[in-house]
């Protein structure tokens, strides 16, 4: 009886699927090339102002890893009109909040302000785009701060070296082979000429997207944007966009990492399709199949039934020019990484060989729908999504209709991408093992043997 009811409900859900809230926006370019996207929502008197610079760690020259992120820190140091240490205070004093982040592909700055302080937000962002000041005290301080950030987030945390190791192997020889945090040595090596060159090349209006969402008046906002940003000169240097071609890996690349961990960890990373491609959407659905919710296959089989893992997940680390489809599991006490890996592989093999049944496939679609609907609940989220969609996909309106791309994925597509990408030749595997399990100090021997 319940089954029948469910089926009926399910039919009516499909009909109700049209339920949606459109996000209206306008977009245009200033003469200097700055791309502007505006979304008006007057329900709460706040506004989010964000600037996305299309530069990330992949734009760093060899020997300057970590530079884009370090530069992000320096962009809070001020301008000829904003004293060192004042940038954050001015925003907070106006009742606002600010932050920034740097990825492999881009650097993103934002302020959320009470809406009557819109002009202040525009002024602040235009100040740093026009003439950010980088003095030697700021550089010296932020070099140390960035190192502390790396220690806090990575060096002092179990397993956290995995990103650097996995990208280092999977994208060896390309600009994705290092992570945004970079290395201490490279950060120390940065010179004044590097800063000037980086600023003049990448922090130019024609490489930036200004995205604003919130309690604004469209016309007034356009005037204010013109007032603060029009005078900033277009960049004259060529903006390098490194080409990233994933290298051949060979059979099955594996590495054992002895770390300060108690539970062995298995990290499998498969090179994936670049974000926005058809295969990318199929891989997103595949992730949901493997690890979206308690009923997902990894969770149900590996954690619940076989009790091999304390934690298991799959997540696509999608990037502009590729990325990694990462599956990771932390073995339960007394379980080996080998048996955990076998069962992870088995679930992936099932995707390649077995049909997904209709109800499970419908579940994936419903899960994707919920997360799509929920993804635009804040002004900050909307501003960021609009900018990302524009920069990465050239279509800000995907904020409204990207869901169609997900819904176009078929069961066969999921199987096809599993077969195409989730193969040993396309994979890097890391085993994280407790240091106490380490057999011999191998490297020492290599040096001493004679």
């Amino acid at each position: 009886m319940r089954k029948l009811l469910t089926l009926l409900l399910f039919v009516s859900f499909l009909a109700a699927n049209a339920q949606e809230r459109r996000i209206e926006f306008e977009e245009y370019d200033l003469a200097n090339g700055l791309h502007v996207i505006l979304h008006q929502d007057n329900s709460t008197p706040i506004v989010n102002i964000s600037v996305l610079y299309h530069v990330g760690s992949k734009n760093e020259p060899v020997g300057r890893t970590g530079f884009a992120h370090f530069f992000e820190h320096l962009m809070f140091e001020g301008s000829p009109n904003i004293q060192r240490g004042e940038f954050s205070k001015i925003i907070e004093n106006a009742g606002g909040q600010l932050n920034a982040n740097t990825s492999f592909d881009r650097t993103f700055y934002f302020e959320t302000l009470p809406s009557h302080q819109l002009e202040l937000g525009l002024y602040m962002e235009s100040e740093r785009m026009l003439h950010a000041t980088i003095d030697s005290i700021g550089v010296a301080t932020q070099k140390e701060v960035v190192k502390e950030e790396k220690r806090t987030r990575i060096d002092n945390q179990p397993y956290m070296s995995f990103q650097a190791k996995i990208f280092g192997k999977a994208y060896e020889g390309t600009s994705y082979s290092w992570t945004p945090i970079g290395s201490f040595e490279d950060i120390d090596a940065a010179t004044n000429a590097d800063f000037r060159d980086f600023f003049e090349t990448f922090y130019v209006p024609n490489n930036a997207t200004l995205s604003i969402a919130g309690d604004i008046d469209m016309d007034e906002t356009k005037v204010l944007i013109e007032k603060y940003f029009a005078e900033i000169s277009k960049g004259t240097k060529e903006i390098p966009r490194p080409e990233i071609v994933a290298p051949e890996l060979g059979d099955d690349t594996k590495e054992e990492v002895f770390d300060n961990v108690q539970l062995p960890g298995v990290f499998q990373a498969y090179r994936m399709a670049e974000q926005g491609s058809d295969d990318y959407y199929a891989m997103q659905m595949l992730t949901t199949l493997l690890s979206g919710g308690e009923s997902s296959r990894f969770q149900k089989e590996i954690v619940d039934k076989q009790q091999l893992a304390a934690f298991v997940a799959s997540f696509p680390f999608a990037l502009e020019d590729g990325g990694l489809f990462i599956s990771l599991g932390l073995a339960n006490v007394g379980k080996s990484p080998e048996e955990l890996e076998v069962s992870m592989d088995k679930e992936i093999d099932r995707v390649k060989t077995e049909d997904i049944d209709d109800r499970e496939f419908q579940k994936l679609k419903n899960q994707i729908e919920t997360s799509f609907v929920s993804s635009n609940s804040t002004m900050r989220g909307i501003a960021e999504s609009l900018a990302d969609y524009h920069v990465y996909f050239g279509d800000a309106n995907l904020i409204n209709n990207e869901i169609e791309r997900y819904m176009a994925v078929s069961k066969e597509d999921i199987r096809r991408v599993a077969k195409k990408y989730l193969t040993p030749e396309n994979r890097v595997t890391l085993y994280y093992l407790p240091k106490s399990a380490q057999q011999k100090p191998e490297d020492e021997k290599a040096v001493d043997d004679h």
Binding site: S88, A94, G95, P158, E294, K300, V333, N376, P441, D448
Partner: protein
């Protein structure tokens, strides 16, 4: 025509050039602020006492249900962790659904559902509003708590606890809890493997039946819903819930220490110290001081523009971030100032945190800092109103705590009315730089000396139990066996060692201008011979044939007998460590020592005669780096140590090539190994003892 229209016209005519005189030296003037509006909510109560709040918000087609059961914290005793399992177990089977069915049904509609000891939460698309409520109430009212599911959770939990042993944040959390509140307070209980193993299904069932009562519960509904429909649904799904009396335990108030105390958990691989300066205090929710304290904390360490951040990060670059918190609490509030700092500035960071506490108490607070703090709090309050969940939180708080009716409506005014005098008064009352716990998780060997200036040092394990200082510095999970195995692996591995039949080492040292030559040879299983020559004369000779030994030298000769012979049998083994592992030798971990700048783990060995010695193994390489013996001399007991270094490979076996050997406590001899011969041909009577 208003200003807005004029501006639009300028824009339309493309007169952007009129902005050429833009004065960038001044901050733009703000526009007229819009009044802050707090969203409305509706409320009703069921006959069984359940209070319901409905916050309609139609922006997105979503709904959430938050059921809050307002219980007092409970002591879990030797079953710490069972309260945390109540919610997990609720989701693992009801009278009509298995865990698998619940999981599938929830995921099928893209919803989320969770239980906890203090209630349950569910959310999803509003078109499934009834199914979501039905699923939530099913796990709240009809859980079956299956035994086999508890076993699964237990296993997961134990793995989670193991993982936490390496996580500096989790270790610091345990330490803070234990130090602040003690084991007899519900906030101070720490879950361990042992307490996890004590939990039974009965504990969970008992809690659920005693505490899940509507008369102490609140349901907050937020989202794209309609009040009338919700009234109907709530009655349908919560109406039959029966009320009942619920116990309200009370606890003793923990107190701040009389003077500062330093508590350390050693994490020997740490590259940063996690520092928390903390103490318990009384600051009830909705008390008079609450808003003033909020402003005081904001000035001190509440944001990335506060005193702590500006000093420790922006000025000194000790840390990625340093913050403080001081929140009200019904049972016991706490002050906490924290930072993760690199090892070498651990003490300096603590000095600066105390300095800033004192600045606050002395009223060294500028007008700018006051304005900044008040504006930041007001701004954060206004921004939070973007989320409809905020209104639900306000409704719940107003209902549970004695806040005046206009509390949230006048919140910003109250914040703005706080004066510098108020803030200084709050600092004097609540900031206690002389009565604080200084809790540090970090590499003890690098930081402990410099921490002594702040108070007595105490050492704790990762669960916050006080331990012997020398043992505290050992990494979690380290055993005698792991140290010995690492050593044996480092010098060639057990397999190769088993193949080793004999070894002969030649050594040289200079003493008082003379060259001293030594030859040590060993043959499996435990024959040994040592000869010391100076200028061609044998100064000393010592032979052991596997059973008995003999010492000879310039002063005559003597047989080694009794217990001493047993000791010599042990020291004559090719590698003593093999014997420790295979035979019944009394060995135990003695702690960690810094030897020549590197950490080494000590193992105390009690020889058959009862004499004890300690052998130290490098934490990094595994090599034996020192042995110490206590000798009874004319001036009482004294300790003599031999250091080993510069290990080198000989046919795949690793031996030290330098030794520093004591002649007496004041004098050491530098010995250099000149030759090592593996499986050397030795004369037939080489080890003969007559």
């Amino acid at each position: 025509m208003n200003i807005k229209n004029i501006l639009s016209i300028i824009f339309l005519f493309g007169l952007g050039c009129s902005f050429a005189q833009l004065d960038r030296s001044k901050l733009p003037e703000p526009a007229t602020p819009r009044p802050i509006e707090i969203g409305n909510y509706e409320t009703f109560e069921l006959k069984n006492g359940l209070k319901v709040f409905v916050i309609e918000n139609h922006k997105l087609p979503r709904v959430s249900y938050n059921l809050l059961i307002d219980t007092e914290p409970l002591l879990e005793g030797d079953k710490v962790g069972y309260l945390g399992m109540v919610g997990q177990m609720m989701r693992r089977g009801t009278e009509t659904r298995t865990k698998e069915q619940i999981d599938e049904e929830v995921d099928f509609i893209g919803a989320s559902l969770s239980g906890r000891s203090g209630g349950a939460f569910a959310s999803g698309l509003s078109k499934y509003q009834e199914r979501i409520m039905e699923l939530m109430t099913d796990i709240v009212f009809n859980p079956t708590f299956p035994d086999e599911e508890l076993e699964k959770i237990r296993k997961q939990t134990i793995s989670g606890l193991a993982a936490n042993k390496e996580d500096p944040g989790a270790i610091a959390g345990n330490l803070n809890q234990k130090i602040l509140y003690g084991s007899d307070h519900p906030y101070g209980e720490i879950q361990t493997e042992e307490t996890t193993n004590n939990i039974t299904v009965e504990d969970i069932k008992m809690y659920h039946s005693n505490f899940f009562k509507p008369n102490i519960s609140y349901l907050a509904i937020v989202g794209d819903v309609n009040l009338k429909e919700m009234k109907k649904l709530v009655k349908k799904y919560f109406g039959a819930w029966e009320s009942g009396d619920v116990a309200k335990p009370t606890y003793e108030m923990p107190s701040a220490p009389e003077k500062n105390v330093v508590s350390i958990v050693n994490r020997s691989n740490s590259v940063q110290s996690t520092v928390n300066i903390t103490y318990p205090l009384s600051l009830p929710v909705a008390s008079e001081d609450e808003i003033k304290v909020r402003v005081m904390n904001q000035v001190f360490g509440g944001s990335s523009t506060a005193k702590l951040f500006m000093n420790l990060r922006e000025d000194k670059a000790y840390t990625y971030g340093s913050y403080s918190s001081l929140s009200s609490d019904e049972l016991v509030a706490r002050f906490n100032a924290s930072a993760d700092v690199r090892n070498e500035v651990t003490d300096s960071a603590i000095v600066e945190i105390f300095y800033e506490m004192q600045q606050m108490r002395d009223g060294k607070i500028s007008d700018e800092e006051m304005d900044l703090a008040k504006n930041a709090i007001s701004g954060s309050f206004s921004r939070s109103l973007e989320q409809p969940q905020t209104v639900a939180r306000f409704a719940l708080n107003s209902s549970i705590y004695p806040y005046p009716d206009d509390y949230y409506r006048t919140y910003i005014q109250k914040v703005q009315a706080v004066t510098r005098e108020d803030v200084q008064a709050m600092a004097e009352k609540y900031l206690k730089p002389q009565n604080a716990y200084i809790n540090v998780v970090g590499k003890a060997s690098e930081i402990e000396e410099k921490l002594k200036q702040f108070g007595e040092l105490k050492y704790y394990d990762t669960y916050g139990n006080e331990v012997d200082p020398s043992l505290a510095k050992l990494p979690a999970g380290l055993t005698v066996e792991s140290i010995l195995n690492k050593y044996l692996d480092a010098i060639g591995g057990k397999e190769k060692i088993a193949e080793l039949k004999s070894v002969r080492m030649s050594m040289e040292a200079s003493m008082m201008g003379q060259t001293l030559n030594m030859e040590v040879s060993k043959a499996a299983p435990n024959m040994s011979r040592l000869e010391m020559k100076m200028g061609g004369n044998v100064m000393q000779k010592q032979v052991f044939d596997g059973e008995k030994g003999k010492l000879s030298g310039m002063g005559g000769e003597s047989m080694v007998e009794g217990d001493d012979a047993l000791d010599m049998a042990l020291s004559s083994a090719m590698f003593e460590e093999i014997v420790y592992l295979e035979n019944d030798i009394d060995i135990e971990l003695s702690g960690v020592e810094n030897i020549n700048g590197k950490d080494a783990y000590g193992i105390e060995v009690k020889a058959p005669s009862g004499k004890s010695s300690t052998r130290y193994y490098d934490a990094e390489t595994g090599y034996l780096v020192r042995t110490t013996n206590t000798i009874e001399g004319p001036q009482g007991a004294m300790t003599l140590s031999t250091d080993f270094g510069d290990y080198a490979a000989y046919d795949g076996y690793y031996f030290p090539t330098t030794m520093k050997q004591p002649i007496n406590p004041q004098m050491k001899m530098d010995i250099t190994v000149t030759e090592v011969v593996i499986n050397a041909e030795l004369p037939a009577d080489h080890f003969k003892v007559e």
